[in-house]
């Protein structure tokens, strides 16, 4: 732990001013707003995961149950809502993949993989996986 900087001397503090942090501090700059929004995409991520589970469960309940779910899924309001969901998930993906190279330093032998390559690699992976998913679902049509 930190030791006192000056052993024999106790500092006298003048009257400092401490600004109170406003409740809506995150409205102070565009980047804070973006940050907040980025964090809240996690709600949508959880929703999407939950809905997948629901769908799995409904699939287990038989074709009729699943048909009812499909019916609900194609209601215009639900579709609209899922478009919004998609938008937030895309926001999550883009922010996530853009930040990754900052945290991840990859090395091949002595060579430090440049950030742009790490970045591009992630986007490539995203593209490939998305294609695989599309093929899977369209394939089982």
């Amino acid at each position: 732990m930190a030791k006192a900087l000056n052993a024999g001397y106790k500092r006298h503090y003048p009257k400092w001013h401490r600004e109170r942090v406003p409740i809506f501090w995150w409205l102070r700059s565009a980047s804070y707003v973006k940050f907040m929004f980025r964090e809240l995409t996690s709600l949508f991520v959880a929703y999407a995961a939950g809905l997948l589970l629901v769908q799995a469960w409904v699939l287990g309940q038989g074709a009729a149950a699943h048909a009812r779910l499909l019916n609900w899924l194609s209601h215009p309001a639900v579709v609209t809502w899922h478009v919004i969901l998609l938008a937030t998930l895309l926001f999550h993906t883009v922010t996530w993949l853009n930040l990754t190279p900052q945290a991840l330093v990859l090395r091949l032998g002595r060579w430090r993989v440049p950030k742009t390559v790490v970045w591009a690699g992630h986007y490539a992976a995203w593209l490939v996986l998305s294609l695989v998913i599309v093929c899977l679902f369209v394939g089982v049509a």
């Binding site: 469960w57 998609l86 369209v138």
Partner: protein, 117 residues
């Protein structure tokens, strides 16, 4: 290990979730819940979907996606709540609450995926 906090595990799940969600969810949502209902692509058949979702590999993948996503949510939400609303004095409580919800959801996910026919 005692001196080390639990944060590394939580953070690992958070980032695992973030990564999986980033890579997999947009395409899934786009096809399954937007393009198919709108008829832009041919809707996957019941049998096909069943196979995909309820095949042991499917179940396992779903479980991974769900669990990690829930923990991803819990972690982000926990910080957002106490940073955003300045509830530092409640940080313990918020952490317990959010992760408990994630654990509960994980248990449900496990239950659903194991029991569903």
């Amino acid at each position: 290990m005692v001196r080390r906090s639990r944060e590394p595990v939580l953070w690992a799940m958070f980032s695992g979730g973030g990564m999986i969600a980033a890579l997999l969810l947009p395409a899934t949502v786009a096809v399954l819940w937007i393009a198919a209902p709108l008829g832009w692509v041919e809707a996957p058949s019941y049998e096909g979907l069943r196979l995909l979702f309820l095949h042991p590999i499917g179940r396992l993948s779903l479980f991974a996606v769900a669990t990690l996503s829930f923990f991803h949510w819990a972690h982000r939400f926990r910080y957002t709540v106490y940073d955003g609303l300045q509830l530092y004095h409640l940080s313990q409580l918020i952490a317990i609450l959010t992760y408990s919800i994630a654990v509960a959801l994980t248990v449900i996910a496990g239950f659903v995926l194991v029991t569903t026919g």
